[in-house]
């Protein structure tokens, strides 16, 4: 009796949750949805209905093994490996389901991943995330970046090889391939360009706020008000003055400054980016110990040398944390710029919403999330590296 209790106690609670959710999604939710064209509602198919018996069996056996790992094995590395194998199995299953359901040469039918696929993917992602947080010693920043690069390389290779070409999202990509590259570049350009402009302005502003405490309250308060204005509203509000500027100053119009398009989007993103960078610059400078500044002064450094060589250097991790917030936030907000003709991946999202074509929505949404996620991982790794070398 006591041994059973002890053994039950050792069952991993998260593993139990993940296994239960995964099993339920396999049993009751559609794994893929088959549509006669991109707009029509489709027929749901389970994994067992679509794949040939042997492949379906192999799939299920490997998923059951992964569930057993989730339930009973404590080693975080094994759990992580199992979850990643699971992601590959599920991705392979959905790709071959699409290939099997699509008649040869037919470009009209759509095979979309069903809710069962997504839930299964979330469950496996949860297991992997949990395993990563349990890894001891914690993975070094370089290892995390390497893991991200490896994952991106595998996904990129599969996409380039055409593994997923019969899936509905990739069908939308095939139709929009040229525009996709352009909008993706525009998306990155809008996010990074406004960030760069904001850093150029916000760093001196932050230093000034640090030196002149009287300014701090009003500057941070004013920037805070800008943050509360919703993106769609700020884009709209900026259209009017920029349009007027273009009408009044021909040079501005020739430079591409207009009421609609990229100009109001860049300006709005720039304004949103100011607060986190300024606030973190002030906070970072405040944390620099007076002793360090005193020592630098004693060594005969000039004020400029102290600022750049000591104060800003010591405040850099905090400033970078602000930049990370801005970058992730900007990548998300650029999506809304599509509404005012600013381009970016939001174009596909809103076009898809307009046409009730969910696959097109995903073509815009998935890369946006991937971009924001990668940016967060990269900048976190950079900040961690800095903090580690300090210690």
């Amino acid at each position: 009796m006591t041994t059973t209790v002890a053994r039950l106690h050792r069952i991993d609670p998260l593993g139990a949750l993940v296994s239960a959710v995964g099993a339920a999604s396999l049993l009751w939710l559609p794994f893929v949805v088959f549509k006669l064209n991109r707009i029509l509602p489709g027929d749901a198919h389970s994994l067992m209905q679509v794949l040939p018996a042997s492949a379906a069996l192999a799939c299920q056996v490997s998923l059951i093994l992964i569930a057993l790992v989730a339930l009973g094995i404590a080693d975080a590395r094994v759990r992580l490996a199992a979850a990643l194998v699971g992601v590959i199995v599920v991705a392979a299953a959905v790709a071959s389901a699409a290939n099997l359901l699509t008649p040869a040469g037919n470009r009209v039918v759509r095979v979309a991943p069903g809710s069962g696929f997504w839930v299964l993917l979330v469950a496996l992602g949860l297991m992997a995330t949990d395993a990563i947080t349990r890894l001891r010693p914690r993975p070094r920043p370089a290892v995390r970046v390497l893991m991200l690069a490896l994952f991106a390389a595998v996904a990129g290779a599969a996409l380039a090889h055409g593994t997923f070409d019969n899936l509905s999202v990739m069908r939308e990509y095939a139709v929009n391939a040229g525009r996709f590259a352009h909008e993706a570049r525009q998306h990155v350009w809008l996010a990074l360009g406004s960030l760069a402009a904001a850093i150029v302005v916000a760093l001196p502003l932050g230093i000034l706020c640090h030196r002149v405490p009287r300014l701090r309250g009003s500057v941070l308060g004013g920037l805070n008000v800008i943050q509360t204005i919703p993106a769609i509203a700020l884009y709209g509000i900026l259209m009017a003055p920029l349009g007027a500027l273009a009408a009044a100053v021909p040079l501005a119009a020739r430079l591409g400054i207009r009421g609609i398009g990229a100009a109001p989007a860049v300006l709005a993103l720039f304004l949103y980016s100011l607060l986190p960078v300024v606030a973190n610059t002030v906070a970072g400078l405040k944390r620099v110990s007076p002793a360090a500044v005193e020592a630098a002064r004693g060594m005969g450094m000039t004020r400029w040398q102290i600022l750049t060589g000591v104060e800003l250097l010591l405040a850099l991790p905090t400033i970078l944390t602000g930049i990370r917030i801005v970058l992730v936030q900007n990548i998300g907000l650029v999506t809304v710029a599509a509404l005012i003709g600013g381009g970016g991946l939001g174009v596909f999202v809103f076009q898809g919403i307009g046409q009730t074509a969910i696959d097109l929505v995903l073509l815009g949404a998935i890369p946006t999330v991937a971009l924001a996620f990668s940016a967060a991982v990269l900048l976190d790794a950079l900040i961690d590296t800095m903090n580690r070398t300090r210690q």
Binding site: I229, A233, G236, V328, L339, V349, V361, L362, A365, T368
Partner: protein, 246 residues
């Protein structure tokens, strides 16, 4: 805060209310922004109804996310749920990389167009700041205070309700305030999937190239967000100032 700021806030509120009640009286102001005799004031619906609908959507969704997020925050800070804490932290971090528009767009295939996807997106996106602030608030309780409460013979539930939650309340409310403000903006985007709100006005302006509409929708949404933020801040100050002075 200074008296000037208070006057500014009241003026903004008065302006918003006047505009929503009698939009037609502002027509001369917006007329120069229109071209070819387009209507200067949004005429495809009542601005007040749209604004109220948007506020109602935002408040429903945020209330739901507050209940769930505070509940989850309490769960992972108890001894029994502590093993989920690192995971939930990571999930919150990952969740924040999802742009609100993506959450909205992903909800549509699951529940269809209309109010539902907007409510779901607002609910999900509102969870994160409240959850994070609940955890920091509960973790920020000084251990000495908790020990004193236990020493007085309080049960864990009494300690939670009588000591920990009141101490964490300012941070929790700040999280709710952040959620509200983010949600007002996301709710405006909700109009693209058929939810009733001021986004309708902005989108109508974008479609018919009518700057007056865009400005009306944008300004009213922005004003609502700012005033909501300030109102919550004022309530918090009223609630917690006496405690801080003691």
């Amino acid at each position: 805060m200074s008296r000037a700021a208070t006057v500014l806030r009241l003026a903004a509120l008065a302006l918003l209310v006047t505009f929503l009640l009698t939009p037609a009286s502002f027509a001369p102001l917006f007329a120069p922004l229109t071209q070819y005799g387009a209507p200067p004031i949004y005429d495809q619906g009542n601005l007040l109804t749209l604004a109220l609908a948007q506020i109602a959507t935002v408040c429903c969704a945020t209330a739901a996310s507050a209940v769930v997020a505070v509940g989850l925050g309490i769960l992972v800070t108890r001894a029994s749920g502590a093993q989920f804490l690192p995971l939930s932290r990571t999930l919150v971090n990952i969740g924040q990389t999802f742009p609100p528009v993506a959450v909205l767009a992903i909800a549509v295939p699951l529940v269809g167009f209309g109010l539902k996807p907007t409510l779901i997106a607002l609910f999900c996106y509102g969870l994160l700041p409240i959850f994070e602030n609940t955890i920091s608030g509960l973790h920020g309780c000084p251990p000495a205070v908790i020990e004193a409460a236990s020493g007085m013979g309080m049960s864990p539930t009494q300690r939670l309700l009588g000591v920990e939650l009141p101490l964490a309340m300012p941070l929790i409310l700040e999280g709710i305030r952040l959620s509200l403000v983010i949600n007002v903006g996301t709710a405006a985007i909700g109009s693209t999937v058929g939810a009733k709100g001021l986004g309708e006005v902005i989108i109508a302006g974008l479609l018919s190239n009518n700057t007056a509409f865009i400005l009306q929708g944008g300004l009213v949404t922005g004003l609502m967000a700012i005033l909501l933020y300030e109102a919550m801040a004022a309530v918090e100050r009223r609630l917690f100032r006496p405690a801080l002075i003691e």
